[in-house]
């Protein structure tokens, strides 16, 4: 491209790169900050000396967590919830998305089911009826309660469906001629052709399960059933935002609190996401675009 390099345009470029770089840094800051706090010296962390670099070095926070059975139990609950929940949700979405990607001619119930889905997506009963239903199913303190409570993710399902629609029908036709049934076509032709959207949905679903804290809070009768985010919400955030305290009381509390230990818990809760993010990141832009734009 032809472009004259004037002084103004050079200045603009420098300003632009600096601004975007700064924005990107603020987005990485929470992770870096939690990490710095967690490895900093306890007194330095508590007195607010840690801002952009660790102060001192100590692994005591992590050693303390090693002995915290409750933390590990919560971690395990979250792992189970995320893995089981993601597998279950993906299976349901893939199985349901395939027939719904057909025309009304090919699948007679298609439009009725679509309208039902739409209704459930835009209208819900609210928190109290939802909670009472969960109680009536005896899903309190149960791992399946934590999985099923979120209801069918209709919007994601529609994205999967739209992606399936974009797959050339010749492929399916060829398989059908060769004698493949609908299940075989779905799992051996359609699914392998849909890696971007499936990877995207695995990311969204697993992050959704991992990050959910509220249902974990109201569907548990005691802290030994908490998933990790609920544990952190209750043990870390709730005490942090403890209100109605005078500045002196706040000071006292921050001396008693253990910021580096809290930060270590928060950092560990970030880790699984940081691990899967780079692998799936390259898919999600294509996955989302192809699915969201009608095929």
């Amino acid at each position: 491209m032809v472009r004259k390099k004037t002084l103004g345009s050079k200045m603009f470029t420098i300003f632009l790169y600096a601004l975007l770089g700064l924005l990107a840094l603020t987005c990485l800051y929470p992770i870096w900050y939690a990490f710095c706090l967690s490895i900093s010296d306890k007194t330095a962390a508590n007195s607010g000396l840690v801002t952009i670099m660790p102060v001192g070095f100590s692994t005591i926070a992590y050693r303390e967590i090693m002995g915290d059975a409750k933390f590990f139990h919560s971690f395990w609950v979250s792992i189970q919830r995320t893995v089981l929940g993601t597998v279950f949700t993906m299976l349901v979405m893939i199985m349901m998305g395939y027939p719904l990607a057909k025309s009304k001619k090919e699948f007679k119930l298609r439009n009725i089911i679509m309208w039902l889905l739409m209704f459930c997506m835009v209208f819900n009963a609210g928190a109290i009826p939802w909670y009472m239903t969960m109680v009536s199913y005896r899903l309190i303190d149960k791992i399946w309660g934590l999985i099923l409570c979120g209801s069918l993710p209709v919007f994601n399902l529609i994205i999967v469906m739209n992606f399936f629609r974009g797959i050339p029908s010749d492929l399916e036709e060829a398989a059908r001629v060769d004698g493949a049934g609908p299940w075989r076509i779905l799992f051996q032709i359609v699914v392998p052709c849909s890696v971007p959207v499936i990877a995207t949905m695995v990311l969204f679903t697993s992050v959704g399960y991992w990050n959910e804290f509220f249902q974990g809070l109201v569907l548990s009768t005691s802290d030994k059933h908490y998933p990790l985010q609920t544990y952190i919400q209750q043990m870390v955030v709730n005490t942090q935002s403890a209100a109605n305290m005078s500045p002196d009381e706040l000071k006292l509390m921050s001396q008693l609190s253990n910021k580096s230990l809290d930060a270590a818990k928060v950092f560990i809760a970030m880790v699984p996401m940081l691990v899967i993010y780079p692998f799936i990141q390259k898919y999600f832009v294509t996955g989302m675009m192809v699915g969201a734009v009608k095929g």
Binding site: L20, I31, M96, A125, G126, A127, I128
Partner: protein, 299 residues
């Protein structure tokens, strides 16, 4: 195709949708019966169908409460500002990023700005409450400028702005994805022609880029309407405290407190139903408008 085989295929298709339909039935449809609580004086001892029916009394009572008015106003202010800024900021960001010619740098920035979207409000709240605490980095900077230290999230006059600002910060990168995708759809020869004609960067944005993605912008604006009462439960719940209820309490957090903490089931269901009905109409209108003005069909 023989008729018998056709029937069998239909059955297979139906079986495929069955797990999803059951999930939908038991966890989205069955809870709807709980809505009757909004029209009765619910008594757990009597159960859902035997509690005394009171008609619209709960609604009258709800709207007579000062708290209800306050939380509705807070909800609309917070949600409305988020809708507007969550379009403008990501759009500006996408336009700026589009001016970056170094692809490696562009990719690096993108990878970083998508990250906060994937972190939960629990995690971010724990960091934000530290950053904005009495001895946090924000107050240290304010101190250098000679300003007084403030516990930011405990000040009702700052709370809304902080909630709106931190939400925009969390989501701007992710929300920009759709604009960035729309930008790639613009014919690059247009820019070449404009550059040869001596068009500045700014003029190119004004006359080529913006018209090129106008459809996407309208679409996002219209679809945003459906969130008019979604001020963000997870965020507010993790950041607020009783000192900021006057400006920061929203419908969802209020429903949680009166319903699941104070156990006023009927009142909480009524408030929840009010939100659901308004949201329902907003979403229907927004989808209709998106179809009408942006030719968007969800299915």
């Amino acid at each position: 195709m023989k008729p018998k085989r056709h029937l069998k295929l239909q059955t297979h298709y139906f079986i495929m949708t069955l797990p999803g339909l059951l999930w939908l039935f038991f966890f989205s449809i069955v809870p709807l019966r709980g809505i009757v609580m909004a029209f009765e004086n619910y008594n757990p001892g009597l159960g859902l169908w035997k509690s005394p029916f009171v008609g619209l009394e709960n609604f009258k009572y709800l709207f007579s409460l000062g708290d209800a008015k306050r939380v509705i106003i807070n909800t609309i202010i917070i949600a409305g500002s988020k809708i507007i800024l969550n379009i403008l900021v990501p759009l500006t960001f996408a336009l700026l990023l589009n001016e970056v010619r170094n692809l490696k740098y562009k990719k690096l920035v993108q990878t970083a700005v998508y990250l906060p979207h994937f972190l939960s409000w629990v995690i971010l709240a724990s960091v934000l409450l530290n950053v904005f605490s009495l001895d946090g980095i924000v107050n240290q900077i304010m101190h250098l400028m000679g300003k007084e230290s403030v516990i930011w999230f405990s000040e009702s006059k700052y709370f809304r702005q902080l909630v709106i600002g931190t939400d925009v910060w969390k989501e701007f990168g992710f929300n920009a994805v759709i604009y960035l995708a729309a930008l790639t759809g613009i014919d690059p020869t247009l820019y070449e022609a404009a550059a040869i004609d001596g068009c500045s960067r700014w003029k190119q944005i004004l006359h080529i880029t913006l018209p090129g993605i106008a459809g996407t912008i309208i679409l996002m604006a219209v679809l945003g309407l459906g969130n008019a009462l979604n001020a963000g439960f997870d965020q507010v719940f993790n950041l607020y405290n009783p000192m900021v209820y006057s400006t920061g309490d929203i419908l969802d957090t209020w429903v949680y407190r009166i319903g699941l903490v104070n156990l006023q089931f009927s009142l909480a269901t009524t408030a929840g139903l009010f939100k659901s009905v308004i949201s329902f109409f907003m979403i229907v209108i927004s989808y209709w408008a998106a179809y009408k003005f942006a030719d968007y069909k969800i299915f």
